[in-house]
């Protein structure tokens, strides 16, 4: 883990290291926690490095690289601190690398089961600067500390420097310019220092690298963006919002290359309406947003549905709610919202990919569903999936087929009816500009030609036509795209079944791999299609389980509610997590063990354990004593201590 203040470049350092590891054959999972802030607030980046595929982060930290005091002791200068640093997360035998300038703070650390390693960053930086003809300027180049910290981390772990040097150069656009050279040198001095002094001591050495193979290091927003390109999306609309914006920014970078229009709108109302009308206009369209933006979209979703627009595909990146909530933190709180947003009964498809790979394939499929069933498709992702990096084999595209659905043949005249009643409810659609295809479309209830009517018989038929398309999707979309079951085949009983959805899949999968690979105690069901819901399969699997625990990244157990609504089954245990952080591998096990032991119906999971939410400050009690003991240094709401890196 590398921790520091936002704007200090710690994510760049972590990603450079991850890239070097990826190229060397390691499997990497990167997870970042950050504040809704540009500069100054605390951020921490975890890299999990393995010789086997990994899809989640773990709680224990084996090497903590601290860029500032806050990483060590938290933000105790606040009356209500937000965190207590990361020292308590370091595993016994682990180590902390910190700048010698943090010495005084590091002395407060009472743990004797970990290594505390001091790095003379300023001195090492000065050496690199002197070599570059800039002696004595270490203070002015202090911003480079993140690069030195990168070098120190790599050195302490005993990893090779060469791939890191290459990745540093790549981060400067691949150019071997003076700046890149200075950064490489600075990193190298720190690398050599740490390697020489510390690498032999650390108990958690890197495993030997697996054989090199082609792999990408990709995050969720990039996977979704690539899927949209692959699917032929022509118009992406968006209004900036965390954590969805990265995807639109990614696509903006490819407008020329792929003939893709990215439209930044004045608000999310406009974003959804433009996406609906673009779909009517003959283009595959999409929009990406988060909860607060989606809250402005139900109107447009209803409009798309009643006018049977072939789309759009809406990417909903969930974050902590309600309202502005936790803008940069994890939550799976919009499941029921996505299913129900809008007035009246709205036919829609709601998908929830479980990992970055599924983000790619599900987003691709979403465009086919939108075209085939002529309805809005919502793809639920979340902050965790959006910002995590994972090493994966490059996405395979040769088998992907684009299905644009029923299109009215060109240049046929006659009495064309855009909303003609057909056997399966699908009416061939024409595209504005097409001769003989003129149609009318309205947000009012309408007749087959698209004109307003309030007639009773027509109303019944049109509702059946529109809503029936969801049933059709239920029949046509294969089970393999709706859920995945990790456990014994029927009719074998399942002692404890964990059910989860969305990005919890990664932690669930890794937890089972690590603790119960043969499913002797635990099985898991990951649900990926929320509407149409795989009712029969879920009933069958839940029916075989002696105990079911539903893992939900929200307060109210929304998946459990959905399961009950769709199947009538009431799960025995709900493990909910709404602390703004994703489930870790350990937390899955904690929840399953608690359920197995017959714990309460509702378990609140946080910081690696089952907790009883209290007054919000208890985790700081111990630290507050520290604050009292060092009032000058850690007094609340006073000017920051000298040398405090802000």
């Amino acid at each position: 883990m590398i921790g520091g203040s936002q704007g200090s470049g710690l994510n760049v350092s972590a990603e450079i290291f991850a890239k070097a590891l990826c190229r060397s054959g390691y499997y990497v999972f990167g997870q970042i926690e950050y504040h809704s802030n540009i500069k100054g607030k605390h951020s921490a980046y975890r890299l999990r490095i393995s010789d086997e595929p990994v899809a989640s982060h773990v709680d224990p930290v084996h090497l903590l690289c601290s860029l500032d005091e806050e990483t060590l002791i938290g933000d105790l200068y606040h009356e209500y601190p937000a965190h207590r640093g990361h020292v308590h997360e370091v595993a016994a035998g682990g180590a902390i690398l910190y700048d010698v300038e943090q010495k005084k703070t590091a002395e407060l650390i009472e743990r004797r089961d970990i290594y505390l390693w001091e790095m003379p960053y300023a001195e090492l930086l000065d050496r690199a600067l002197t070599e570059a003809g800039k002696p004595g300027q270490a203070r002015a180049y202090r911003i480079m500390t993140n690069t030195l910290a990168l070098g120190a981390s790599v050195g302490a772990l005993g990893f090779d420097f060469e791939p890191v040097a290459q990745a540093i150069c790549d981060s400067f656009g691949g150019k071997a310019g003076k700046v890149a050279e200075l950064n490489v040198n600075a990193a190298k001095y720190a690398y050599e220092y740490a390697r020489e002094k510390f690498s032999k001591e650390l108990k958690f050495a890197l495993p030997p690298a697996p054989p090199k193979r082609e792999q990408i290091m990709v995050k969720g927003t990039q996977a979704v963006g690539m899927a949209k390109i692959q699917a032929g999306c022509g118009l992406q609309t968006y209004y900036p919002i965390s954590p969805a914006t990265d995807e639109s920014v990614y696509l903006e970078g490819y407008q020329s290359e792929h003939n893709l229009v990215v439209l930044q709108t004045e608000d999310e109302v406009s974003a959804i309406d433009a996406a609906v009308m673009g779909a009517h206009g003959g283009v595959r369209t999409s929009t990406s947003t988060s909860g607060p933006g989606f809250a402005l979209m139900p109107e447009g979703i209803g409009f798309g549905a009643i006018t049977e627009a072939p789309g759009p595909v809406v990417l909903l990146y969930q974050r902590g709610g309600p309202s502005t909530g936790l803008p940069t933190r994890q939550e799976q709180g919009d499941l029921l919202f996505a299913l129900n947003a809008g007035q009246g009964d709205i036919p829609r498809i709601v998908m929830a990919p479980g990992d970055i790979e599924e983000c790619f394939y599900d987003t691709f499929d979403a465009f086919n569903y939108a075209d085939r069933y002529q309805l809005p498709v919502i793809v639920l992702v979340d902050k965790h999936m959006a910002s995590c990096y994972q090493t994966l084999p490059p996405f395979k595209t040769s088998h992907l087929k684009i299905d644009r659905g029923l299109v009215k043949p060109a240049n046929t005249n006659g009495d064309y009816q855009r909303y003609a009643f057909t056997k399966d409810g699908l009416s061939p659609r024409s595209v504005p500009g097409q001769a003989g295809g003129i149609f009318w479309s309205t947000s009012d209830e309408h007749d087959p030609r698209g004109h307003i009517t309030e007639g009773i018989g027509n109303r019944l038929a049109m509702m059946e036509k529109r809503m029936g398309k969801v049933g059709m999707a239920a029949r046509e979309i294969p089970d393999g795209k709706k859920y995945r079951f990790f456990g014994p085949a029927a009719p074998k009983k399942i002692p404890v079944l964990a059910v989860c959805w969305g990005s919890t899949k990664g932690a669930m999968h890794d937890a089972l791999q690590r603790f119960d690979p043969h499913h002797s105690r635990y099985a898991a069901l990951h649900i990926r299609m929320m509407r149409p819901f795989p009712v029969e399969a879920v009933k069958e699997i839940l029916g075989r389980a002696e105990r079911v625990v539903c893992l939900d990244g929200n307060y109210s157990g929304q998946l459990a509610q959905l399961i009950r609504a769709e199947t009538g089954i009431c799960v025995q245990h709900q493990a909910v997590k709404y602390d703004g952080r994703p489930f870790s591998e350990e937390e899955i096990i904690v929840a399953l063990e608690a359920a197995k032991a017959g714990a309460a119906e509702r378990l609140v999971i946080s910081q690696g354990k089952v907790v009883v939410p209290g007054n919000g400050n208890e985790e700081f009690d111990e630290m507050l004593e520290l604050r009292e003991a060092h009032p000058k240094m850690l007094a609340p709401m006073v000017p920051l201590p000298p040398g405090y890196n802000r």
Binding site: G232, F395, W440, H451
Partner: protein
């Protein structure tokens, strides 16, 4: 202007009329507006299938159903986002937005602003009768402070919006005003708006015989200080055109001149083009960065055989 004339037949206004029964109140000003749009399209010989009519909600919203063209009756206030996307999907279509004053300047005001900033090559016709008629005559954003129609329970205590000034502030490059009951001249203004390369606003003064007893046919036909209340700008030597688009001073002067024309002493109301600036459109900027659009509209490009190999390589 981007139309393709494939039909040898000379198009008449009648060819843009759908066979749907019109349920506007007898004497409604909306009839004049829809007729003027049909006449303008006929004048420009735009084939009906090459035109997209996008309307909002309310009485004005029903316009879409009365047009023979690709017609979308969308949501209250959302004309501009829909117009924008239709034009982006196919820049060869003639795209016309139609909405009421509440639609454009009230609930859709944010979109109205953005529409001006973008300067897409579209036309927005706003039927301005000072009331929300379909909900039985509440005050709209264009009713002035102190005014009370017979449908209102008390006089307005809010100021009215000035649509011309708002459009100028937002960046519409063609700003005009017409009168619904002078259908012929209105159709000429709308035709000029369609021909204009850029975002064009035509604010149409209009009567609501059912709810607005202030701004009636008689009011508009009346006199102010011995002169007709309504008169044509083009008959006064007024020059709305910015001749040097690179001269910010001229742009400011022409905008100031247009603003003054909305505040005639005595309350005379000029009709016609208030302001016109020819400058790069949103489509021009898009074409400069997206090569495919120079060849074909977005909806006609083959976007379905893309290769993401370079995207994947970047992540290795």
């Amino acid at each position: 202007m981007s139309t393709t004339t494939t039909d040898l037949k000379t198009l008449q206004a009648q060819d843009f009329k759908s066979d749907v029964h019109n349920d506007w109140c007898p004497g409604c000003g909306d009839f004049g507006v829809v007729a003027a749009v049909q006449m303008a399209l006929a004048k420009l010989q735009v084939p009906p299938h090459r035109a997209a009519i996008i309307s909002g909600i309310g009485c004005a919203g029903k316009t879409a159903h009365y047009m023979q063209a690709y017609s979308f009756h969308t949501l209250h206030g959302r004309v501009m986002p829909s117009v924008t996307a239709m034009k982006l999907a196919n820049h060869d279509l003639t795209v016309i937005g139609v909405g009421g004053d509440g639609d454009a300047y009230g609930i859709g005001a944010g979109h109205f602003v953005a529409g001006g900033r973008r300067n897409l090559n579209i036309t927005y016709v706003v039927m301005n009768n000072d009331v929300y008629a379909l909900t039985k005559g509440q005050a709209s954003p264009t009713i002035a402070k102190g005014q009370k129609t017979k449908s209102m329970s008390e006089p307005s205590i809010m100021d009215a919006i000035n649509p011309v000034l708002l459009a100028l502030a937002c960046g519409y490059t063609f700003v005009a005003r017409g009168y619904a009951l002078d259908t012929k001249y209105l159709s000429e203004i709308i035709a000029q708006a369609i021909q204009h390369r850029g975002s064009a606003l035509v604010d149409v003064l209009q009567t609501c015989p059912t709810y607005n007893d202030l701004h009636t046919k008689g009011f508009y036909a009346g006199q102010v200080e011995g002169q007709p209340r309504l008169y044509r700008l083009d008959q006064t030597g007024y020059d709305p055109i910015v001749h040097n688009a690179d001269d910010p001073l001229e742009i400011a002067q022409k905008k100031a001149q247009a603003l003054l024309k909305t505040q005639e002493p005595g309350g005379r109301i000029p009709l016609g083009v208030y302001y016109k600036l020819d400058t790069a459109t949103y489509e021009d900027h898009l074409k400069a960065k997206i090569p495919g659009l120079q060849e074909k509209p977005l909806a006609e490009l083959d976007l379905y055989h893309r290769d993401i190999t370079p995207n994947l390589k970047e992540l290795m």
